[in-house]
């Protein structure tokens, strides 16, 4: 139903321990943010793409579809860096709102931001594309989050698909009755969809209460989480990649 989520369950890396993937992609994310943007971001981005389309087996089209919306935000946001407002020379005089002018350093700054953010985005997407939340969420207690919160997050994760499915069905039904044919109808349709969803959500919660009580529910949603083997070698290998990226970046800085 959600493309990234569906892809994560089909990922060849699905059975890799989330901690290993967290180390690899978290490390690369740090590289993207902390290393000098050139060539750090470029090396990180290339590494992430090689991992994604190589061993992690991410489907390129799905990856591209997921990436374009945040990329659009990154590009729009960095446009503002290309120009500055306020007449030159007025800078010291404070925030006077003068005419708009090209910023001579703007292009370099924008390129740096775009590079960094793109590399970081790729790392985040890679993690999402290879790590199913059903495997990740129950393990969040290990990093110290309260069990009650983790239980709530896991419950919301399950229920959001039920709600999403309801929303899609109602939306399709409304469209069939021309509910999205005009802007006015559209607003009316979204409003009534939202209200219907709220009522259904409340109803669903009550029905689930009954349904789970029959299974012995008394307030705790305890489940058995099977242990995934966490091999130290895998963790080391995962950590090695960002370290190599960092070394390559710093090394190239020395040589350049």
């Amino acid at each position: 139903m959600l493309a990234i989520d569906a892809a994560a369950y089909k990922s060849p890396w699905r059975d890799v321990h989330p901690a290993v993937k967290g180390t690899l992609f978290g490390g690369l994310l740090l590289c993207a943010l902390a290393l000098p943007a050139w060539p750090g971001a470029a090396i990180t981005a290339v590494t992430a793409l090689v991992v994604a389309f190589g061993p992690a087996g991410v489907e390129p089209r799905a990856f591209a579809r997921a990436a374009w919306a945040p990329l659009l935000f990154i590009l729009t946001g960095s446009v503002t860096l290309l120009f500055s407002v306020g007449a030159p020379g007025d800078a010291a005089a404070g925030p006077a709102l003068g005419p708009v002018a090209w910023d001579p350093d703007g292009l370099a700054r924008a390129a740096e931001i775009v590079g960094r953010a793109t590399a970081a985005l790729l790392c985040q997407l890679l993690f999402a594309f290879t790590t199913p939340l059903a495997d990740l969420l129950p393990r969040l207690t290990r990093i110290g989050l309260p069990a009650a919160l983790v239980e709530m997050v896991a419950l919301i994760y399950r229920m959001l698909f039920v709600t999403l499915d309801t929303a899609r069905r109602i939306g399709t039904g409304q469209a069939g009755r021309l509910g999205y044919a005009t802007r006015r109808a559209w607003i009316r349709s979204v409003g009534s969809l939202g209200a219907a969803l709220f009522i259904r959500s409340y109803d669903r919660a009550q029905r689930m209460q009954r349904g789970l009580e029959c299974r012995g529910y008394t307030g705790e949603l305890t489940v058995l989480v099977d242990a995934l083997p966490l091999r130290p070698q895998a963790l080391l290998a995962a950590a090695a990649v960002p370290l190599l990226v960092a070394a390559a970046t710093i090394g190239s800085g020395v040589w350049l």
Binding site: A3, A62, G176, L178, A181, T182, S192
Partner: protein, 286 residues
């Protein structure tokens, strides 16, 4: 029976030509599917879950876009533009299996008025349409009720009224009898019989071979493509075809054959459609 959908004798009011569809990156549900719905007929669509029944109905109603092929309304291709789809939806209404998918307003009356209002009709006409549709489904008494307090069967009727209030030429029903008890099924069938009599073309999907047998003019059996199409007696009497579509055989043809063999039924008599007809046969004999 040749796949490809034999053209109906009456002119097709709604048709699909060479339709192909796939959900996202999954395997295609079907490719090169042809179907034609004749004006005024009742067409039953049968097949296993996941075989493409609902997909086909949604394509015909403009609720999904075909990957290739086209939908024809009165013989003319429907363009896959916003305007084209809008025009299709004005003529063809699809009623989903689960009534909760189509009920979202606070009151029954408000819900039924949703479609006519979106058609841009003036309030007097909308009111007229709503009254007429509520009356046609025998639920005028429910008009002021909040939708979430209705029983399942009542909700099914309200959704049907909401589609009917748009005065469609073709009404498409996805599993309309699912979840209804036998009394509810009988009452729905009576309502649909009335619609058919008033000239509405009906396309109905169902699992229940006995029901389709009893009630449709033609049957279309699909499972990732057309397995068979034709008059119900011919298609649903074909045990091999039904078994290929993972459907249970109908009682009617099996019993008809047995009764003809035993001489209880003349050789040229049609098969019984209900257990009552079998009982009546015996009683008339005495």
């Amino acid at each position: 029976m040749s796949p490809g959908g034999a053209p109906a004798t009456a002119p097709a009011v709604l048709a699909g030509r060479d339709l192909a569809f796939a959900y996202d990156d999954a395997d295609p549900v079907f490719t090169g599917l042809n179907v034609a719905v004749a004006a005024g007929e009742v067409l039953a669509v049968l097949g296993p879950n996941g075989g493409g029944k609902t997909t086909l109905l949604r394509l015909l109603a403009g609720s999904l876009r075909p990957r290739s092929g086209e939908i024809l309304l009165d013989g003319a291709g429907v363009p896959q533009s916003r305007r084209g789809i809008g025009g299709l939806r004005r003529r063809v209404q699809l009623v989903f299996q689960d009534p909760d998918d189509q009920l979202f307003s606070a009151s029954v009356r408000q819900d039924v008025s949703f479609g006519p209002l979106n058609q841009g009709l003036d309030t007097d006409t909308v009111r007229e349409r709503v009254d007429w549709a509520l009356d046609a489904l025998d639920i005028t008494g429910l008009a002021g009720q909040p939708t979430h307090l209705l029983s399942y069967g009542q909700r099914k009727r309200v959704v049907l009224a909401g589609a009917l209030a748009m005065r469609p030429s073709v009404l498409i029903l996805d599993e309309p009898t699912a979840g209804l008890d036998p009394a509810g099924v009988e009452s729905l069938l009576a309502t649909l019989e009335g619609l058919r009599a008033s000239g509405t073309t009906l396309v109905v999907s169902t699992h229940e071979v006995d029901l389709a047998y009893r009630w449709a003019d033609r049957a279309l059996v699909i499972d990732h493509g057309v397995l068979g199409v034709g008059p119900v007696r011919q298609v649903l009497g074909d045990t091999a075809l039904l078994s290929a579509a993972r459907l249970r055989p109908a009682w009617g043809p099996a019993v008809g054959r047995a009764l003809r063999t035993s001489g209880l039924l003349p050789d040229d008599a049609p098969d019984p459609r209900t257990p009552e007809e079998v009982a009546a046969l015996l009683d008339s004999d005495r």
